[in-house]
């Protein structure tokens, strides 16, 4: 009897011991999904396996960063959310926000935390973070995208232009582009003065022409921070002027061409003298792809002297999905990596511009010419609207731009059509 009791207890201990051991050793794992490859410079640090080491040690958790294919990342996130098996932290493009918010997929940042963040960061980061009345859907990553005019200084010299003076107004811009354009003996353009993006995803087409649309006074939607409702403001004199500008450069000045579809690649290859896109991309690619290129960076031109320049701001965002299994720890990890100390440390290490006001006063950012150049552009930056119908608005506007520049529709007809489609998208999304 005694022996059988001992045996029973021993067996029970043996049976339970693996479970006890596992329970003792088990660590919560926080998963973070980010885009693979060099889609954004801001994701580079996730490849560092020790990135979260301090946080992991302090909180007895493991943070696992998983790279996803960029092209199918939205679909994967959505499918995972539907399957209730999503990551705890999502590192997403801000332009994806409306789609995710339409599905009520993201947790907002707690009001107190949002208030503290908005008070501590520089104005451009505040602009990117605040979706109206201090509402935040995540923390923008450092090294934000700001669209700027970049020009080839050697081409400027060759065309008799001052390489340190970029065009400031649309009239100057057209004049410069004409002077910079080169042709072969048959009259075919071999180098454009200004390269335009007119193919690919309509969003990309709109992003690259945002400066002209907004600079001329048009807007994609009247209230950029409203999730639902509102109306499209693209079929306006400003919208028409923005489309006409490039149409005239194509047909009248012949200083640009549909045959140079990737402005950044054309600029880096030396077959375009000016282009307007994410400056961070040129900075990252130029040393490898065009080491001898001497380039300048400035605000996009304005319709006429005295007008205020407008350019596009974009960023990647740390956010927490509603279906996350470890929400509290996910927010803690996000707050840790987005602290002022980590911002300084990571920006210094990865040669990016910081977000906290306090870090802008420190070296190397204080004396870095590129960072200081960016600082001149930031005050003119605007982010994309957050309306739930944004995808439809962008499709409509992108389609209008393509139709006009491809000579399939007049400016008036294309914009009237785009306005109708955009308003339908806004109304449909609000249902």
């Amino acid at each position: 009897m005694r022996a059988s009791k001992v045996l029973a207890i021993t067996l029970a201990i043996l049976f339970l011991s693996p479970a006890i051991a596992l329970a003792g050793a088990a660590k919560t794992t926080i998963t973070l999904w980010y885009p693979a490859g060099d889609i954004t410079a801001g994701a580079a640090h996730f490849a560092d396996k020790t990135l979260f080491a301090d946080f992991e040690a302090k909180n007895n958790v493991k943070v696992e960063a998983v790279a996803l294919d960029y092209d199918t990342m939205i679909q994967k996130i959505f499918a995972a959310a539907a399957g209730k098996n999503i990551a705890d932290i999502l590192f997403i493009d801000t332009s994806w926000l409306p789609g995710f918010l339409k599905e009520e997929m993201l947790e907002p940042v707690a009001d107190a935390k949002a208030k503290a963040w908005l008070a501590a960061v520089s104005p451009e980061i505040k602009e990117l973070s605040d979706y109206g009345k201090g509402r935040m859907w995540g923390y923008p990553q450092y090294g934000i995208d700001v669209y700027g005019l970049t020009w080839n200084k050697d081409h400027f010299k060759e065309a008799g232009l001052d390489p340190e003076k970029p065009p400031k107004t649309w009239a100057e811009f057209r004049e410069y582009a004409k002077k910079l354009t080169k042709r072969d003996a048959q009259g075919n353009i071999t180098r454009v003065g200004y390269a335009i993006r007119h193919v690919g995803h309509p969003h990309g087409v709109v992003h690259k022409h945002f400066w002209a649309i907004y600079g001329a006074g048009a807007q994609l939607i009247d209230d950029p921070n409203a999730l639902r409702g509102g109306k499209s403001m693209i079929n306006t004199p400003g919208g028409k002027a923005a489309l006409q500008l490039v149409l005239d450069m194509l047909d009248v000045d012949k200083s640009t061409s549909l045959n140079f579809p990737d402005p950044r690649a054309a600029f880096l290859k030396g077959i375009a003298s000016m282009q307007i896109s994410e400056t961070v991309s040129i900075k990252a690619r130029q040393p490898k792809e065009a080491p001898d290129l001497k380039w300048g960076m400035a605000l996009p031109p304005v319709p006429k002297a005295g007008d205020k320049s407008v350019t596009l701001l974009g960023a990647w965002l740390y956010s927490v999905p509603k279906q996350a299994k470890n929400k509290a720890m996910a927010w803690k990890a996000i707050e840790w990596i987005n602290s002022a100390e980590k911002d300084y440390e990571l920006c210094k290490k990865y040669d990016a511009s910081p977000r906290y006001k306090v870090n802008w006063d420190k070296e190397p950012f204080k004396s870095d010419a590129y960072d200081q150049g960016l600082k001149q552009l930031y005050p003119y930056g605007k982010k994309l609207p957050i309306n739930l119908g944004l995808n439809g608005i962008m499709d409509a506007m992108g389609g209008a731009i393509q139709k006009v520049w491809h000579h399939e529709a007049s400016v008036d007809a294309a914009l009237a059509d785009a306005e109708r489609l955009a308003n339908k998208a806004i109304a449909d999304a609000a249902k």
Partner: protein, 305 residues
């Protein structure tokens, strides 16, 4: 006694047969189950979704009857995608079949390096569509692409290819013909080699020339092969996606948007799963209709030899 023995024998036979049937079903069960899970259930689900407003993340399904289909009728982008798809199918299916037949006739004769050239023509079929499309994207590049270099060499004007709303769809069709040609050639070649030689010999004795033999013997006797090629290519062409996604993304200005791409966008960019399901059902009806039409019509050309 005799009838009892007969009854018992029948019973044994019936049991044996039942067991054999059971075994047969057990052997095919894995395939049937997997086919059911991955093909039949999603198809039924798609049909059901097409009558609902589907909000997957909220787990909300609102029955809206035929609303999704009604909206499709007035959706200009879908209409454009449907027309583009029809143009694509109507171009690629006959052209690819005709070129495949011509190549098969050429390869049905003896010449040096025949097998090598056959492999060359068949290679695109076994190449990943996405990988091939990326290469063709560069070949179509207005500045650096081989096509414009060749045009320039022969003194013709350079073309914008994928950059033009007017030329983008034909450019995709050219790529797709290149991709499917080899498969059609091989199928036609098999069909040609199955035709008994005595038909050709008899026709030759009767004085028929090569062209007459081709039109009077090869083409009619290849009718079942042609039917197969038209149906197979037609079904695939209606579902075109990869090359459009890679080469143009549906642009410029929706000039190459096709039904499957639009469906994908509705589902995964706009999260309108019910609407996307309705598009899928319309596409299914189209494919079914055209396939049935081809099948019924081709019955008239059935041959036996």
């Amino acid at each position: 006694m005799g009838s009892h023995a007969n009854a018992s024998g029948r019973h044994v036979l019936a049991r044996f047969r039942a067991r054999r049937i059971l075994h047969a079903y057990l052997f095919i069960a894995p395939v049937i189950v997997l086919f059911g899970i991955f093909r039949v259930v999603p198809a039924i689900q798609t049909l059901l979704y097409s009558f609902y407003k589907v909000e997957l993340l909220r787990g909300r399904f609102t029955f809206i009857g035929l609303d999704n289909f009604r909206t499709l009728l007035t959706d200009e982008i879908f209409q454009k995608a449907a027309v583009n798809t029809l143009v694509y199918v109507a171009s690629i299916v006959p052209i690819s079949a005709a070129l495949g037949l011509i190549l098969a006739v050429l390869f049905n004769t003896r010449f040096r390096f025949k097998e090598f050239f056959k492999a060359v023509y068949f290679a695109p079929m076994v190449t990943s569509t996405v990988a091939a499309a990326v290469v063709w994207w560069w070949m179509y590049n207005p500045q650096f692409g081989i096509f414009n270099v060749l045009l320039k060499l022969v003194g013709l004007p350079e073309q914008p290819w994928l950059m033009s709303s007017h030329m983008a769809l034909p450019s995709i069709i050219i790529f797709s013909i290149w991709k499917t040609l080899g498969y059609n050639m091989i199928i036609y070649l098999a069909g040609l080699q199955a035709i008994p030689q005595q038909f050709y010999e008899a026709a030759t004795i009767d004085g028929a020339g090569a062209i007459k033999r081709f039109w009077r013997i090869s083409v009619p006797l290849l009718a079942p092969t042609t039917t197969f090629i038209l149906i197979y290519n037609g079904i695939l062409a209606f579902q075109v996606f990869d090359q459009v996604f890679v080469l143009t993304g549906g642009g410029p200005a929706n000039s190459t948007n096709v039904v499957v791409l639009d469906l994908y966008r509705q589902a995964f960019e706009r999260y309108n799963f019910g609407y996307a399901a309705a598009e899928a059902m319309v596409l299914f009806v189209f494919i079914l209709g055209v396939t049935l039409l081809q099948y019924v019509y081709s019955k008239r050309f059935e041959v036996a030899y």
